[in-house]
Amino acid sequence: MIPEIGHFALIVALCISIVQALVPLIGTYRKDGAWMAVARPAAQGQFVFVAIAFGCLAWSFVGNDFSVLNVASNSNSSLPVQYRFAATWGSHEGSLLLWVLMLTVWMLAVTVFSRHLPREMLARILSVMALISVGFLLFLLFTSNPFERLLPAAPDGRDLNPLLQDPGMVIHPPMLYMGYVGFSVAFAFSVAALLGGKLDAAWARWSRPWTTVAWAFLTVGICLGSGWAYYVLGWGGWWFWDPVENASFMPWLVGTALVHSLAVTEKRGGFKIWTVLLAIIAFSLSLLGTFLVRSGVLTSVHAFATDPARGIFILAFLAIVVGSSLALFAWRAPKVGLGGTFNLVSREAALLTNNVLLMAAAAVVLLGTLYPLFLDALGLGKLSVGTPWFEIMFPICMAPAVFLMGIGPIMRWKEAQLPDLASRLKWAFGVALVTGLLVPVVMGKWTWLISLGLFLAAWIVAAGFVNLYEQVARLRASGGSLPGRMRTLPRGYWGMLVAHFGVGVFIVGVTMVKGYETEKDVRMNVGDTVLVGGYQFQLEGLTQVQGPNYEATRGRIRVSRNGSEVTVLQPEKRFYSVQQMPMTEAAISPGLTRDLYVSLGEPVGEGAWVVRLYHKPFVDWIWGGGFLMALGGVIAITDRRYRLARREQSQPAAAAATA
């Protein structure tokens, strides 16, 4: 019964979404307030019904209802309850349902937080989002129904892929989807602006926080995915330039460009057309990511579907969305206007360069991701693009952008003076240079890339401090204590500083790991000791362990340094009985300046095992940097001016209501 309720709720949601897509939009042309007013309750109703459907599916998973095909294929009664819940989005159908749920959550958020928007604008935005929702609901109901029954019911389920049985898996997909789908809001704002032909600073101020939140979610989602790969796949890599990773990274790069371009549109009224185009591209890439990951074009842990009808449906949907929005863009963009002019040396120019470089980086990733797929689809042979392509080209695009990150924020709008900038930043430059040269000497190994990476990281942080110092000094005239003065600086400014520091922290992590990590695969007998990165690893023993749905061999490895014990690591080699699948569970001792990483390979006879021992300096800074960037975004959206704009708007409305 419960699955049928869920199925029915989805159908109702589809009906509502069709109404929501058409009625308000037609209302904007008829200038009919009542028709436009349909948008808000429709969006809220849609959320309720999709949430019911999702709840029903989750209920079936948690309650072990193996008469539902989806549950029988992706869960098992011996699976712990939190993973049974997470298995709701562990399948193709469930993950799409999550996608739609996220979309309706964003819609709901728009109805709640955008009371100050002009009603035509709100109507258009919710209509556009509903159009997207119609596409995905149709896709769900016609090709990937999550509630399909299995009769007679299976006695037990086939279990969730062991790689997905992990706490990271519980939060990674929702976070990533919040980001992916969140760009639909920026997209809808842009399409609404194109339809209305009006794009001003107020528009930028409205759409900016939405974009920033979506971007922050995507950042966290990518970090979690990368962290998952690091500790679950058992071989200690944190980024593989795998098409699935690239699929989430491309919208992130374009989204980052969009966040910066919106800053110019809001503050200076510039880059208007460019901002709109970026919003369209960012969401198109989110859809492309969904297509790549969900259509079965790629084979990976993410690709469940091999049904070609699904791939064709998403591809057609992608073509419609991208094609129609670009056509609309070509038709209406001239109406939007270009915005103000600026000098070659100015903050606008710096941000434009940053945008171009970010787009170039996205193009590099896009080329490397799609080229093999195109060739394969055309039957021209199978090939892949080597990691070196990404690892050479990406830094070439990003290094200048990162260098500009130090200068841009202290530049003046419209026109800046180079000698003035040089004198303000000379100390920061000196500090960065010394760091870049000194640290490799201390660490005892030098390469160009290590120096460059450390230089850039120190440069961002030092330039950030110069920026902060100047801001505080500027406020000295107004008096007040130092913390007081710091508090008067806008949150948007703090958010920028924190996010940029995050980039610095991230670069430190990448540089140190790439430069100084030690990886060893060795044969170890019980009692053997191996030295890695200055740490002694001793295999003390191996025991058999019984888990809820697996059996495991657990190693005990004592790690010591200079005779004193550091930690005891217990890596496991698991065997999941239902799926008949072995899995490596690495043991990690995390630390601020290093991770120690141990995983079991396989038994090689006489009680010996092949063991993987890693020493990874500063690896946690990679994710720490990512989380700082996201935190910066969160701080930025709490800025007063967003709330202020809302109050200003709502006051006249309230006055009108009482009158």
Partner: protein, 154 residues
Amino acid sequence: MKSRHKRLALVGTGLAILGVAAALILNAFQSNLVFFYTPSQIVAKEAPQARSFRVGGLVEQGSVQRQADGVTVRFVVTDTAHSIPVLYTGILPDLFKEGKGVVAQGQIGADGVFHAKEVLAKHDENYMPPEAADAVQRARKAMQESQKTLQEKK
């Protein structure tokens, strides 16, 4: 007039820089492509020497041998028509098994042994690396065709 010349020169330089950059990028791209070859193609000497490529197929039954150091593994990849010996140092992916599909990336040595830098992991038991499946399929087709021509000759 003068400022127009200046602008033209500026645009010209910009385009020239863009052209050079594009050429360099495409060149770098070309040299980073990793092609895929089946064991049959490698036996027929179609694969390049001194350049990384991928080989895919099935791990031949009973061919996996560990060297004395315990970390180096020798196995044979076959597309059922021809086979290639592979040498790999390191931990094999969890789902590496005799009789199952595998894809390895590396270079072919002068001794005809494929020195793998990477043996690709698959993510679940049912999934066969597409390259491996492709290799086996191609070999089967080739065999069927050769049998057909033999029969026709008869």
